[in-house]
Amino acid sequence: MTKKSGKMDRNNIGKWFKSPGNMGQKYSLHALYFCTGCGIIEIPPTITTRWDAERFGVIPVATPRQANLFLITGYVSVKTLRYIIRSYEQMPEPKYTVGFGSCPINGGMYWDSYNTIKHLDKYIPVDGWIAGCMPRPEAVFVAVTHLWTLIDKGMATGYLKYREHYAKYRRNQEKILGELEWPPLFSKEEENEKSREKVAG
């Protein structure tokens, strides 16, 4: 076992030299302990002794300002969406979002609910989904290892897309929540996007 893991480490040396930043980020994911919906019941056993998420470098933190992994655990009501957006905007970049359970994907069993948003990726960018109702804690680790692959290949770029298409996201957020009480995160992006569209069109 030790021999095998030693071999793996030597294989990774190339990656460490190539992009040390990526390697550092992927092995220290700080998950935001944000209780959305019923999926949060899976998170305490995941982060504590039974499944011990720290083996994968995932550790829960108290505030969004210290986090870079956002697990949306379960259905998102309109009221929760407001605080999800606020928390997401407070997280430092690079930040990764994972939708946990079938409800953030397409509404799940709340598909005809009057107060639950159906597609989370209309409001904030999502890097990966875990399907299931509920997913087991093992699924969190599968998601984390997939996220490692995405970070390695430079595909986990949700936060860059949020920067780029901020005006569209903000428009969607205001459609559902009405007037937002906080100022736009990227104030000049809207003009930039319009000018980009003019050049492209």
Binding site: Y114, K118, H119, D121, P125, K168, G178
Partner: protein
């Protein structure tokens, strides 16, 4: 006392007109009464020993065109037989422009239940100290827990109208 419900039934019948009671009186007793008698009956039941208001619930009876209010009472004081008994006090109010008197004077914990019913069924509780929004973030034309609120249509009109944020490479 073996069956507290029987004695209570007789007492209620002697005190209030036009009420009907159901149930065996051991575990659950349903009392239906006119809406004028509800507040009096709640204070009478509280004095009798049913000092805990567990829930105020509402049923939308679309066919009868009424809203049915259900006050669920139980007892912490009294003897063991009485503690086993739950009382469901039911009354009906008209569906159009529904109004009712608040029970907060008798049971203080009626306040959040009445705020909830105000929000989800549109019932105006007169005399309530603070009838402000409790749960909902958006405003609805019809209160969303009423039977004539079409959730499917609402989802199509509101949530499905919001576009996906598309990239040139595809959906983000």
């Amino acid at each position: 006392m073996k069956n507290p419900g029987k004695k209570l039934q007789d007492e209620l019948r002697s005190m209030f007109e036009s009420i009907s009671t159901e149930g065996d009186g051991e575990n659950r007793m349903t009392v239906k009464c006119r809406k004028e008698a509800v507040i009096t009956m709640l204070s009478f039941l509280k004095k009798t020993g049913f000092d805990h208001l567990a829930l105020i619930s509402c049923v939308d009876r679309l066919n009868d065109n009424v809203l049915e209010l259900v006050y669920i009472l139980s007892s912490y004081g009294g003897d063991v037989a009485m503690q086993k008994l739950n009382i469901l006090l039911k009354t009906t109010i008209p569906r159009e422009n529904p109004q009712f008197y608040t029970a907060t004077e008798i049971f203080g914990n009626a306040s959040p239940y009445e705020r909830e019913l105000h929000e989800l069924y549109g019932i105006l509780f007169r005399g309530h100290p603070r009838l402000t929004p409790l749960f909902l973030e958006r405003e609805y034309d019809i209160p969303p827990f009423r039977k004539d609120f079409d959730t499917r249509k609402y989802v199509k009109d509101v949530f499905d109208q919001i576009p996906f944020v598309d990239d040139k490479k595809g959906r983000t």
